[in-house]
């Protein structure tokens, strides 16, 4: 079974703190994604990566950065956390859509609260 593991299920941070959310996948997927999930808004794409050290902005990248130093690991960084970044963060991975089904595999999510 595909496994996408997010390092923390629940985090509580203070405004201004630097926050790291880690994601690891075990299926050699080229593509990895960070989504933010908020009630009534669904999932919105923050950043994605299609290869090691490659990244592209999604729809809501402001206030976030990412790092992909190894193929299996994709990190989301909040340089200075703010209360409006309180949310559920979902990591996902998958193969390049042209050659596969397009299915994404998701982690369990990291619920971040910024006080």
């Amino acid at each position: 079974d595909v496994k996408v593991t997010q390092s923390s299920r629940y985090l509580v941070k203070r405004t201004g703190e630097k926050v790291f959310l880690e994601c690891v996948q075990d299926m050699d997927h080229e593509n990895m994604f960070w989504y933010r999930q908020d009630p009534g808004l669904g999932l919105r794409l923050i950043y994605f990566s299609y290869d090691v050290k490659m990244k592209e902005k999604g729809d809501i990248p402001e206030g976030y950065s990412v790092s992909r130093e190894k193929k299996e690991r994709f990190s989301l960084i909040l340089e200075s956390a703010s209360t409006n970044q309180t949310s559920m963060y979902l990591c996902a991975s998958g193969y390049t859509i042209r050659y596969h089904t397009g299915e994404l595999f998701f982690g369990e999510g990291s619920r971040l609260t910024v006080l």
Binding site: V4, N31, F33, Y35, G40, L41, G42, L43, R44, L45, F48, Y50, E56, G58, L90, A92, G94, Y95, T96, I97, R98, T101, G102, E103, L104, F106, G107, E108, G109
Partner: protein, 115 residues
Amino acid sequence: AQTVTQSQPEMSVQEAETVTLSCTYDTSESDYYLFWYKQPPSRQMILVIRQEAYKQQNATENRFSVNFQKAAKSFSLKISDSQLGDAAMYFCAYAMIQGAQKLVFGQGTRLTINP
């Protein structure tokens, strides 16, 4: 830009009955993928069913089937013989065929199953 709209924030159905969740989308592409994902409470998001736009036949997976109306840009999910385990958030999603498999998600529909 592509958009996906789920106009039903919440739905409920009696156990063993049939329920249909609605989804509409907007795209100028002629070929793409559509998905329904299920997110059970406090658990990982999983793929329920997938439809390729070039296929006219509606996809089915056991008790789950879709009604894909390409001209109307409509993609509804029908769940037959509803079971308690079907209770979850359901997300409709769209992906282009080309490039990284960025999924665009709808707002989600929370499905409750009444015993």
